[in-house]
């Protein structure tokens, strides 16, 4: 209850901050890294610089307004027909200029500040989102929906995300929390630490990330350390669903003393669902929860 009130208050507060200036077509926004952005409202030509931004924009129904996306944007299918404006690390500034966008949306987790400043100097309002956990994703959806004048669509998405998140949390409440090791890199073995999205997902899904105390976001782990922390479930994040899963599985099968290996609790999970801060992250959450607590999800 208290949370609701707080949330309501925050929404009220934010609506005050982002209140439109009555008689002008351009609006002032504060982005998620504290920069001021003046946007002609509502924006008609939007360039997205990251896959999660593209997903959010499409889910808000901006199919027409999106004019450019990064080369990493592969979802939804419609994104593939948009003009490509380079990668996170190397933007194709010429392409962006030629698209004449009236809004560019960048991510604090990939695009550098120099790039953002450069885009601003070239005369393009650039809004930076920087979600750091699942709740932040909902906030980012809210911010972007205000930015582009699609508050209703945004509220719907947020409500759906919140409902599904609550359901997962409710279903796994009070259950024993298995120790989970999430592998995102093979050689060297890299896992997810305290500040990562996946860590948040594992916790919400009723698991215990064995690397959850690591300060580093993506710590490297030696085999000894993994043996010591003896995970009961191993999740392998994969960009390629079929990939070399067999090979990785074989690698693990050598370490029979790990409970997860002994009991065959090794699963593959689509990396786009767990490290991409978009509305689909809830799918990732449900997927992990199903893996960790299959008994609770069978009944449904």
């Amino acid at each position: 209850m208290r949370k609701r009130v707080l949330a309501g208050f925050l929404i009220l507060l934010s609506s005050l901050i982002w209140a439109p200036h009555a008689h002008c077509s351009s609006q002032r926004f504060k982005d998620e890294v504290g920069r001021e952005v003046i946007v002609s409202f509502p924006p008609k030509k939007i360039v997205s610089l990251a896959p999660n931004i593209t997903e959010i924009l499409f889910s808000l129904g901006l199919d027409q307004e999106i004019v450019g996306v990064s080369i990493h944007c592969n979802f939804p299918e419609k994104a593939n027909s948009k003009v490509r404006v380079g990668s996170y690390i190397s933007l194709d500034f010429e392409k962006i200029v030629s698209l004449k966008p009236d809004l560019i949306i960048a991510t604090g987790a990939g695009n550098t500040r120099d790039m953002v400043e450069r885009l601003k100097r070239l005369g393009f309002p650039t809004y930076v989102i920087f979600p750091k956990n699942v709740d932040n994703v909902m906030q980012s959806v809210g911010h972007l929906s205000q930015l582009v004048g699609r508050e209703n669509e945004g509220a719907e998405i947020i409500q759906d995300m919140r409902r599904r998140r609550e359901r997962v949390v409710a279903l796994t409440l009070g259950l024993p929390r298995p120790r989970v090791f999430l592998q995102i890199g093979e050689a060297p073995i890299v896992t997810v630490g305290k500040n990562s999205f996946a860590d948040d997902l594992i916790r919400l899904a009723g698991g215990n990330n064995v690397a959850g105390n690591e300060k580093e976001t993506y710590p490297r782990f030696g085999m000894e350390e993994i043996l010591k922390r003896s995970p009961e479930v191993i999740l392998i994040s994969s960009m390629n669903p079929r990939g070399n899963y067999q090979k990785v599985l074989q690698e693990w099968s050598r370490w029979k003393t790990i409970p997860a290996v002994k009991h065959g609790q090794i699963y593959l999970i689509d990396s786009d669902l767990i490290d991409r801060p978009s509305p689909r992250i809830i799918e990732g959450l449900e997927e992990i929860a199903r893996i960790l607590h299959p008994e609770r999800f069978k009944k449904q």
């Binding site: 080369i71 933007l91 010429e94 200029v97 030629s98």
Partner: protein, 343 residues
Amino acid sequence: MKILTLKKVLLISALLGLILILVMILSITMGSVKVGPYRSISILLQSILGLKGAGTETEKTIILSLRVPRALLAGLVGAGLSVSGAIFQALLRNPLADPYILGVSSGAAVGAIVAILMGLGTLSFGLPLASFIGGLLTIFIVFYFGRQEGRIHPNTLLLAGVIVSSFLSALIMFFLSVSQREELRTIVFWLMGDFSLSNYQAVRLIFPYLLFAFFLLYAHARQFNLILSGEESALQLGVNVERLKLISYLGASLMTAASVSMCGLIGFVGLIVPHSVRLIFGPDHRLLLPASAFVGASFLIASDTLGRTLFSPVELPVGVITAAFGGPFFIYLLRTRKVVKIL
């Protein structure tokens, strides 16, 4: 050896300058967005002459804010690295020498990485400044350890430089292993060299350093020629050898530090351009220095243009192009010219 006249120096410089201008023009007409050569050139001329006319706002932005400053910066850096490479090869009397051999680049890299990790990259020119300071500090450290009894011995200096450089490389690897994914990307891009964020301010900032160092070095071109036939004979001919070595070391190092501070470590240019110029025009420094500057500028602009157009919209690091195209060309020169007159 044929006698080098002033006329010949001027003539070849003018010719190479003309090639440089052509390469620059070619570079601003190419990019991921098609503007058309005639249109690009008229936009450029209009802005130089202060006229108004052809070209949409978009085209003007692409040409004037993106391509031109990028070509200018790449040209300056190419010239700076090539001239300092030529000087280091003469100073150390070693054909393997390049602008990075004495660790200036590693120092600049450590400076840049520290700036990235401390978040100084958010300040305008925080990163280039930190990297420049890192480079300068390294120059003094190497100089301090590289002298014996107040004199510069090429081999001692070389060893000191290589050792300081490997120590700094260890630091770089340490920083890389402890940095987060986002910082890591920035660092790796800096280490590979990148012109994508070039602007006029960067050009204005490094130009005076490069110009000063170039004229300082060029004023001693004749003395570099003498010292190559041995320090003893140079001394007998009235060259202040110690002073000359000091000036060449400081001048070339300053050039290197200023060049890499803006765009990161671009490899290969400083090694291959001076050698190519020597193979074609001979080892006389009065011609070698200006020719290296022009050829280096043209070569790096051309490489960067290829890097940003070959696989657009994704850019290749310019170092990939300099090595991939420069290497084979250099081998070709070595094979056809037969005699390797290194110094």
